[in-house]
């Protein structure tokens, strides 16, 4: 079978799962950025920045290992890691600490919150808009996208070709949408300040979030419309679980972002992939207001699968939900049993096997193999 034919089979499998139809088998999306260590155990995370081409090369080798090659998802390679990570951190007006420079050699990169926004800046947003404030906050943290190394498009194209040769699905990662305004603002102010703001000036925070929602959602949806054809687009949420904020706070400050985004994307036939960390059990019912199959829920393992199945099982595909700690320190038997348990709960449709949040950098190869084998029924 050619890689192109394999990609078609895997794409069909993924699309069936997210449309809640019965695929030929449950898709497996277990991509991790630390798989390179399975090929070269002396390589460290700092090497992703110091010698990225070597890491890309051995990451590709890892995806060709027996059993591992059964995964439907492919690797993320071919981009300049530091530029990508600094842009990612800038979504929170934060900086990224890089292993080997700011952190030990084999540490994972860290988002370092700067909190450049002041209390008075709420009025600035109300007067001048969020786009103005964004530029000003970038200036305060010293973030200048133009000064980042430009992407090596020739190398990226070469890597894309190599990834295509693996015959993986093209539908395991979607276009990235802007972060919910609640998340952005909590980064801009730093979390403790932001929670004090919610108590001391609730109306002002609400007014600013409304402005941010209006500006960022329309921009994000426009980018999806004008970009390559998309099946789904991804939103990340990490600071809004139901064991972290109250329903009252969620309803006023957070959910409107999801509501506007999901509705707007649905109008252009694009699904919303909800990468929601923390325990969302108490908020899952809010997502039943959207048309069936308009979202995919991607938890980090803290929302129990039983709760997801019970509340959202008839509404959307669910990806997950092996605990990431288990693949790092558990045994293959424990991982196999965890995967079997998820398969028993979820049945034969509306499910993508994965590790909650993402596969950690120190995942053991034999544990990932155990999850794959359990999913394949071997």
């Amino acid at each position: 079978m050619t890689p192109q034919e394999m990609t078609e089979i895997r794409d069909k499998r993924m699309i069936a799962a997210i449309n809640m139809e019965k695929p030929d088998r449950i898709p497996i999306s277990l991509s991790g950025q630390g798989f390179f260590k399975w090929i070269d155990p002396t390589a460290v995370i700092a090497d992703m920045f110091r010698r990225p081409k070597y890491i890309d090369e051995i990451t590709l080798q890892a995806y060709k290992l027996p059993i591992i090659e059964e995964m439907d998802s492919g690797p993320m390679i071919g981009f300049t890691s530091e530029a990508f990570l600094q842009s990612f951190a800038a979504m929170y007006f934060a900086k990224m600490k890089i292993p080997g420079r700011d952190l030990p050699e084999d540490a994972i990169w860290n988002i370092d919150e700067q909190g450049p926004m002041t209390e008075e800046d709420y009025d600035t947003v109300i007067d001048k808009g969020w786009a103005y404030m964004t530029e000003e906050l970038y200036r305060r943290i010293g973030y200048d996208p133009a000064s980042l190394p430009p992407p090596d498009t020739e190398y990226m194209e070469a890597m894309n070709k190599k990834v295509a040769e693996l015959g993986k699905s093209r539908y395991t990662m979607g276009a990235l949408l802007p972060l919910p305004s609640f998340e952005v603002l909590s980064g801009a102010r730093k979390l403790p300040n932001f929670f004090k703001d919610l108590r001391r000036m609730p109306e002002k925070v609400a007014a600013v979030i409304d402005i941010m929602n209006e500006e960022t959602i329309s921009r994000g949806v426009k980018a999806i419309k004008e970009g390559p054809p998309a099946v789904f687009a991804t939103i990340g949420g990490t600071r809004a679980g139901s064991d972290f904020i109250s329903p009252k706070v969620y309803e006023r400050y957070y959910h409107p972002f999801f509501k506007k985004t999901i509705t707007a994307l649905n109008e252009i036939n694009v699904k919303t992939w909800l990468h929601n960390d923390s325990d969302w059990s108490g908020f899952l019912h809010y997502f039943t207001e959207f048309p069936k199959k308009s979202c995919i829920f991607d938890p980090d393992h803290l929302t129990p699968m039983e709760n997801l199945k019970k509340v959202l099982g008839d509404y959307m595909c669910i990806e997950g939900n092996i605990p990431p700690g288990l693949v790092a320190v558990g045994t293959p038997d424990e991982c196999y049993q965890a995967a079997r348990r998820l398969l028993d709960i979820m049945g034969d449709r509306g499910f993508i096997m994965s590790v909650g949040c993402s596969v950690p950098a120190n995942a053991k190869r034999e544990n990932i193999e155990a999850i794959i084998l359990a999913t394949l029924g071997k």
Binding site: I45, D106, A107, I108, G241, D243, F244, D277, S278, D279, D300, H301, L302, P323, P324, G325, L326, A328, V329, G330, E334, C357, P360, A361, N362, A363
Partner: protein, 75 residues
């Protein structure tokens, strides 16, 4: 007054070994028997608790308070 509860938060699986080392240090210093070690954070679960040698996994802040009050006999 010596600590009777020690809470350690963890957001990265790559920090598991550091926390394990921290708990082993308590043992080496003869302090482990006097303190309950609670762990919490996104990637932590029962397997992690066993690996680190901690006493209890707290799923969230509320559970941590409930567990601590019960352990300390606070009503």
């Amino acid at each position: 007054m010596p600590a009777i509860l020690l809470g350690i938060s963890c957001l990265l699986t790559t920090a598991f070994d550091n926390i394990k080392e921290c708990i082993q240090t308590l043992e080496r210093e003869g302090l482990r028997g006097d303190v309950k070690v609670l762990i919490g954070g996104g990637p932590v679960d029962e397997a992690t608790c066993k690996y680190m040698g901690a006493d209890h996994v707290c799923r969230n802040a509320q559970e941590t308070v409930e567990y601590s009050k019960k352990y300390m006999g606070v009503k």
